[in-house]
């Protein structure tokens, strides 16, 4: 497979990754999608999850992202990430703690939000998001088969 797609991963603070790859799999808001050269132009939002970069038929790199946007053109695939780290640098212990904290906060704010206060509802939204991020991180580690 000679053709490659130019993949860029950009955070607000810097360009994290810019290379030509054979395929990337992006966790889109409505399901994962793979990007090969010649993909139809697409703009999608990205849910928290793992970006998989394929070289040959194997995953060369797994990168966790906490959400963002992806822009795909036939030659190019750009991901604007809110926060991104390679899965291998995620610390299992820390993620477990984060997940536990997010779960408790979610529970607390859910109870508060049901009373219908606007500020509590906002807090609930934030907690919901945190939980989603933490869950996705957890899954990312599980999926990479590292213990």
């Amino acid at each position: 497979m000679a053709e490659k797609v130019k993949f860029e991963l950009v955070s607000p603070e810097k360009i994290l990754l810019s290379e030509a790859v054979e395929m990337v799999v992006i966790p889109g808001a409505e399901g994962n999608f793979g990007v090969l050269p010649g993909h139809a132009p697409l703009i999608s939002s990205v849910r928290p999850g793992t970006i998989e970069v394929y070289e040959g038929n194997n995953v060369a790199e797994r990168i966790f992202i906490a959400g963002g946007f992806a822009e795909v053109t036939p030659e190019r695939c750009t991901v604007l990430a809110d926060e991104a780290v390679t899965v291998s640098s995620l610390d299992r212990g820390a993620v477990d703690i984060e997940l536990a904290e997010a779960t408790t906060r979610y529970g607390e704010s859910l109870a508060a939000a049901e009373k219908g206060n606007d500020a509590d509802k906002l807090r609930f939204k934030a907690a919901e998001r945190l939980l989603a991020v933490a869950t996705a991180k957890h899954q990312a580690i599980e999926a990479s088969g590292r213990h």
Binding site: E13, K14, A40
Partner: protein, 294 residues
């Protein structure tokens, strides 16, 4: 005439001032380098964000479903002016020029009969606004970018702004900051944040031209996510530019101060030596004439 001792003290004090200003200059120079790199590194994200927004906005502009962040609230009665300044002074005219422009804007808006609300970033701006428009100040943030500006800081500022927007506290938001051009020149810039101004880069980039994007989920949903994010990015860019400008301005100011101190020391040393010689000559004359009188 100043005594020799006074002169000596004076010279010594100017010398220590020069030491401080030259140290500050070196510090500012290294911070400037860092701030410039940070500003440089953030550019790709902003550029791509703008490109995405431009293609989205084109398809949404004018539609009744366009979110208020893009289309505005339909009126422009209340303006939020965000003034970005530094926390520390001694940066030449940096804060003064930003505040002068801010004052001009505010006065113009008031003259048009609009309601103005002010939000400040940085201690200097807060203090000045507190003095002049204490009633208009609604919020202030300080200690931003102590150790380099982080996106999370810009994000929290933008969240504060967006919460107020959603609560209907204002219709239009602009941010005033200094764009970094060089260490000598900073350009005070007034930029509209809300509603999102039509993208200034008119022609879309080469390969995008004519491309029709698919959107996933719908255009509206992406826009409602992208627009708040874009406010954050724009504030982030403004803060980065401001940080670079601040350090650049401080570097120039301190360079001038160091040079002035040098000139002053030269002048004072000259006076000191003249006085010293005059005293010696006077003493010699006294001794000689004393000896002759014998």
């Amino acid at each position: 005439m100043a005594s020799l001792k006074d002169l000596r003290n004076r010279i010594r004090s100017v010398q220590s001032t020069r030491k401080i200003t030259s140290a500050m200059k070196v510090v500012a120079a290294s911070r400037l380098k860092k701030a410039q790199d940070a500003a440089e590194a953030s550019r790709p994200y902003a550029v791509r964000m703008e490109r995405m927004l431009a293609s989205l906005a084109q398809s949404m502009v004018g539609l009744p479903t366009a979110p208020p962040l893009l289309a505005g609230t339909g009126k422009s009665d209340t303006h939020l002016v965000i003034i970005a300044t530094s926390d520390r002074g001694l940066a030449g005219g940096f804060n003064a020029t930003i505040l002068r422009e801010a004052r001009r804007q505010i006065r113009a808006l008031i003259a048009e009969g609009k309601t103005v609300k002010i939000m400040t970033i940085g201690r200097k701006g807060r203090d000045a606004v507190k003095r002049e428009y204490p009633k208009l100040l609604i919020d202030s943030v300080t200690d931003v970018g102590r150790r380099g500006v982080h996106f999370s800081e810009a994000k929290s500022v933008s969240e504060a702004v967006l919460t107020r927007f959603e609560a209907g506290e204002f219709d239009v938001a602009t941010i005033i900051f200094a764009k970094f051009k060089s260490a000598i020149a900073q350009i005070v810039t007034v930029q509209q944040l809300i509603p999102f101004g039509a993208p200034t880069t008119a022609a879309p980039a080469d390969d995008v031209a004519g491309a029709i994007y698919e959107f996933e989920p719908s255009e509206e949903e992406i826009l409602t996510e992208l627009l708040p994010n874009n406010v954050g990015v724009q504030i982030f860019t403004a803060l980065l530019e401001n940080a670079a400008s601040e350090h650049g301005s401080r570097m120039t100011a301190m360079d001038n101060a160091t040079r002035n101190a040098g000139d002053m020391i030269k002048g004072l040393t000259l006076v000191y030596n003249r006085t010293r010689q005059a005293t010696i000559t006077k003493e010699l004359i006294e001794i000689i004439s004393g000896a002759e009188a014998l």
